[in-house]
Symmetry: C2
Subunit: 203 residues, 2 copies
């Protein structure tokens, strides 16, 4: 049995403890005979996979009424992984989702680090700085690097801390944000954890 | 006597109570004989204006040690206009500056509404929504429009409210943000107010 998290650009497999990735356009899902439990955000590919008996879409095991119709399946499955906490999934976008007593309480979407860096740069060359992840969040800045870093990072930091609940970081930029959320748990396998839990309890 | 706020694209004049604008590339500063007090963010034009006896750069009247070296002169002059408050200047960028007892306490820079709208759109077509300025800031969203609106607007709202000090809105998107900061004062002439104050007290 394999698990597969399919994003906009890659198939991300978990085979027991081994993880590997394939590019979306260079991998043929027919080449696998094993049973594959998957989630997929790519609509066309989703239709293709429906035709393959050994590929099983995990989204069918989810009670969508607990979430909302346009919410990404990756966010939903990450929420299913935990009973309590705020999940920060830091990728091209940063999604922040709150779960209490196993119930999704809502969430919001913030630009990812690269997107936000470009946003400042494109507004003005005077704002073309790298973010300072060692920012002192306790005082208002008096220099340009910290003025944009505070705008981006401290506002996220305050919002997440206001929930007063454990923080779980996942996604490609989890380690970067760990500098800010020093008490957070980093879990790169949160989506696979959610998939496993759904299979165990419902499949 | 005229006042002139020169940005990256326009000369913005105040002649007593009359305001008018000229494009940077189509107006000749030599065409004016009156005394003009100005601020200018455009480095090349600043050098040109230095040669004209009737154009007087107000930045010379400012004690720059109260601010920081790369801080925009428009932000500084807006701060000079008030004794106490948080100034939100909502243009291509949103600058937020705190002034207490006439002293600048620091500030930060956040992307402007158009820049941030584009940022979400460019991350994914699934995030291509207009912001909801009537957002309920009291609860975490469960729909896509509010998920991005909350990420952009509520985080700014919480930060500014945490200062517990009167809010003054200025800049082109002041009216938009007034929907969020319902108790804020809108002052489109904050920079001219600051210029007048500097002239009265030091010129």
């Amino acid at each position: 049995m394999l698990l597969c998290d399919i994003g906009n650009t890659t198939y991300h497999f978990l085979d027991k403890d081994k993880k590997y990735k394939y590019a979306l356009d260079s991998f043929d899902p027919n080449s696998i005979d094993d049973k594959v439990y998957y989630i997929c955000v790519e609509p066309t590919l989703k239709e293709t996979l429906k035709q393959l008996d050994n590929w099983i879409d995990i989204s069918q095991y989810i009670d969508i009424n607990k979430y909302y119709s346009t919410m990404g399946i990756d966010r939903i499955v990450a929420c299913e992984a935990i009973e309590e906490g705020v999940i920060i999934d830091a990728g091209s976008a940063i999604t922040v989702d709150l779960v209490k007593d196993g119930v999704f309480k809502g969430g919001f979407i913030y630009p990812g680090t690269r997107a936000m860096r470009d946003t400042y740069k494109n507004i003005s060359s005077a704002l073309d700085y790298e973010f300072n992840y060692d920012l002192d969040t306790s005082k208002l800045p008096k220099n340009s690097t910290d003025a944009i870093s505070y705008g981006y990072l401290k506002l996220l930091y305050s919002e997440v801390n206001s929930y007063n609940i454990p923080v779980i970081l996942t996604g490609g930029d989890a380690d970067l944000l760990k500098k800010l959320f020093t008490d957070a748990e980093v879990n790169e396998d949160l989506i696979f954890d959610g998939m496993k839990k759904l299979i165990e309890t419902t499949a």
